[in-house]
Symmetry: C2
Subunit: 360 residues, 2 copies
C-alpha cells in the first residue's frame, strides 16, 4: 500500500484524502493543517492522522491531538500531495526535496514548480517516475479532457474559449463579485491558454476569462476549429465515450450548475461532487467551414472543487509507477464511482466501440 | 416640431420620452401606459400627457388624470414609438397601420414586424421613409456598433461572440438566476446571431448566450477574424473615433459594470445611463493568422436599459425623413451628451482624422 501524505486539508486536500482512502492500492499516511478549524474537526472525525503545518499549540488549545509536525508526515510518506493555497506549494518544495519525497502540486502553482504539468487523459506517461508533478487547475483540467479526444480524432486548428468563472467557492465568503460580471483578467489571453499549453504544447488556443456572482461551478463557452467535418452526432458519440465527460441529455431538464449539483446530491455523491466535465448535449454544434474544416461549439460546466481530485489520484500512481494511464484511470473511476450513479448519463454503449481502458 | 407618441412607459419608453424631449426637432405628443404605478407618477411629474393603454378607470381611481386613450395618442402623433413588452408591439401594429402613423418597434419583436431592422451606425439609410422600423435589441445594437467600423475598415471573415447577459434589469425583481450561470439558450447559435444578420445580411457570425446573477449590464467576449492584420493600436484608434463607443483606458480602474455605472452616476448622467458601448482598452488584442488574416478580441459592456435609446431617436428622424444619418446621429449625441461628461474617455483627437459627421 502506497503511503500518501496530504499537506493542506482545505477544499482540495480533504477531497483528495477521501479519494485516496477509497483506492485499493494506497492509504492516507496523514494530513497536515495550519489551524484547528471546522475542517480539522472533519479530519479528526474521518480518523486521519493530523499533523500541524505550523504551530501545534493552537491544536492543543482546541483539544485536538496532533500526531506531529508536517516534516514528520512528509518523511513518513511515499508521495506527498501538496494541497496548500496557491504559492505556498512552491515554498514547501525545499522540504519535499530535502526528504526526497516525490510531490504532487496543484494548478495554483506556477508551472515551473514541477517538470510535468499533468492531465490523466492527455499526458499520463510524462509523469511516470517524475520527482514532482503539477496537476493543472480545474479549468485547465476541464479544457484538457475535452480537447484530448477531439485533437486525437479530428485535429484542432484553433480553440477560442470564454471561461465564465465562479467568483469563489461556497465557503469563500469574502470573495466577489456581487451583481457584476468582470472581465478577469481584462487582458487576452487569460492565463488559461498558456496553462493548457503546458499539457498540449503545440495547440493554438486563446482564452477569455470572466468572473460572475456564482459559487457552484465554472461555465465554459468553447469554440474549436477542427481539421475535419464531423457531424454534431459524431462529436457527441466521441465525447460520450469518455469516462470523465458527462454529456447531459436534454430530457434531464438541467439548465445550469444548480440543477447539476442538485442531481449529484440526490444521487448520493460525496459532498455532491461532480468529478466529470458536464457538457450540454444540445449545445454540441458543428458548422462546416471551407477547406474541410469545421467550427465546433459546446457549453460545459466544471466543478472547481472536484474535477482535479481524480487527476490527483492518477498523478500519485504515475509518480509512484503503480500503473499505466488507462489502468490507473479505470481504478480511480471505479473506486470513486465516476461515470456511475447518475442515471441516464452512463457512457453510451451504442457509440462506436472503443477499448474500455483507453476511453479515459 | 415632429410630434412623437410613446406607447409604453417602462424601462425603454420612459428613457425614449426623455431623450425625445431633449431633441431640438421633436416633441413628446404624449405617453401611454396600462397601469397607474410609480412610472405613471414619473410621467405625471415630468409633465407628459398620459394616455391609457387599456382602461382609464384605474388611473381615475388612483387620482391620476389621463388625456385619453392610446388610440387618440397615436392619431395625434406624426410617429409612434412602441416600447411595450416583447410581443405586444406586434399586437399594436394594426392600430398604427389603421391610423397610418409610422411606427418604431423594439428589438423584442420578431424581425417580421417591420420591413427594416435598424442600427443608426450600420444602416440608417434603409429606414428613411419606411412605414415601420424595428430598432434591434440592446445586444444586437452593441454588436452592430462595433462590427460596422471593423467590417468597413478591415472586412470580417467571421464573428464568434459569447454574450454574458444580465439576468434581469434592476427593477425586474422576479427574475434570475441566483448564484448560477445558465447557458441561455443552450443551443447554438443563440438568437443574437440571426438578429445581427437582420442588420448585416452577409456577415458570418455565431453567438453563444448565457445568463448570470447580475442586473447592471451585459458583458460580451468577442472574437473577430479580420481579413487584415492591423495592430491592436490601429483597432483601438478606429474604435475610439466612433461616437457611440467608449474605449475605457486602464488608468480609470474600471473593472466591471459596477464601477462603470458609478462613474456615469457621478458624472450626472440621467439615471446613470450608459448610452455607449464600453470597450476595455486593455482587452483589444490582435493575433495575426495565416493568409493576411488576424484574430481580434475584445470585452465590452452594454447597458441594456440605455444603448437603444439614441437609436430610437435616430430611427424617428429616419422614418420621418428629418435628417440624413450622420446629421441625425450628431444631433442626438449633442442633445443627450453622448461622448461627453466622462472625463478621459473623450474621442481621441490624435486618432487618424475622420469627418466628424461620419464618425457615427
Amino acid at each position: 500500500m502506497l503511503r500518501v501524505g496530504i499537506n493542506g486539508f482545505g477544499t482540495i486536500g480533504k477531497r483528495v484524502a477521501d479519494a485516496v482512502r477509497a483506492q485499493p492500492d494506497m492509504t492516507v499516511a496523514g494530513v497536515a493543517k495550519r489551524t484547528p478549524d471546522y475542517e480539522a474537526e472533519i479530519a479528526r472525525d474521518r480518523g486521519y492522522s493530523l499533523f500541524a503545518a505550523a504551530e501545534t499549540t493552537p491544536f492543543t488549545a482546541a483539544g485536538i491531538d496532533v500526531a506531529g509536525q508536517v516534516r514528520q508526515l512528509v518523511a513518513a510518506s511515499d508521495v506527498v500531495v501538496d494541497a496548500t493555497p496557491a504559492g505556498v506549494g512552491e515554498r514547501n518544495r525545499a522540504l519535499y526535496e530535502e526528504l526526497e519525497t516525490p510531490a504532487i502540486y496543484q494548478g495554483g502553482e506556477d508551472a515551473s514548480v514541477a517538470p510535468v504539468s499533468f492531465n490523466a487523459r492527455a499526458n499520463y506517461d510524462e509523469a511516470v517516475g517524475a520527482d514532482a508533478v503539477r496537476v493543472v487547475s480545474c479549468n485547465t483540467t476541464g479544457l484538457s479532457r475535452v480537447l484530448a479526444p477531439l485533437e486525437e480524432r479530428y485535429g484542432i486548428e484553433k480553440v477560442r474559449a470564454t471561461l465564465v468563472r465562479r467568483g469563489g467557492d461556497p465557503s469563500q465568503t469574502g470573495r466577489g463579485p456581487i451583481n457584476d460580471t468582470l472581465p478577469d483578467p481584462v487582458s487576452i489571453p487569460s492565463h488559461h491558454a498558456p496553462d493548457v499549453k503546458t499539457v498540449f504544447p503545440e495547440l493554438s488556443i486563446d482564452t477569455m476569462g470572466m468572473k460572475v456572482p456564482a459559487t457552484l461551478m465554472h461555465t465554459h463557452a468553447i469554440n474549436l476549429t477542427l481539421r475535419a467535418t464531423p457531424t454534431a452526432e459524431d462529436v457527441r458519440d466521441l465525447l460520450t465515450a469518455e469516462g470523465r465527460l458527462l454529456v447531459i441529455p436534454e430530457r434531464l431538464g438541467i439548465d445550469g450548475a444548480g440543477k447539476l449539483k442538485e442531481y449529484t446530491r440526490d444521487a448520493g455523491r460525496p459532498r455532491g461532487d461532480v468529478w466529470e466535465n458536464c457538457i450540454w448535449a444540445e449545445s454540441l454544434t458543428v458548422e462546416p467551414l471551407s477547406d474541410g474544416r469545421a467550427d465546433c461549439y459546446l457549453f460545459q460546466a466544471i466543478h472547481q472543487e472536484a474535477d482535479v481530485v481524480p487527476e490527483n489520484v492518477d498523478a500519485i500512481r504515475a509518480i509512484a509507477g503503480l500503473a499505466d494511464g488507462p489502468e490507473s484511470v479505470e481504478r480511480t473511476n471505479e473506486a470513486l464511482g465516476i461515470g456511475c450513479g447518475l442515471a441516464g448519463i452512463e457512457p453510451d454503449t451504442t457509440a462506436p466501440a472503443r477499448d474500455a481502458a483507453s476511453d479515459d
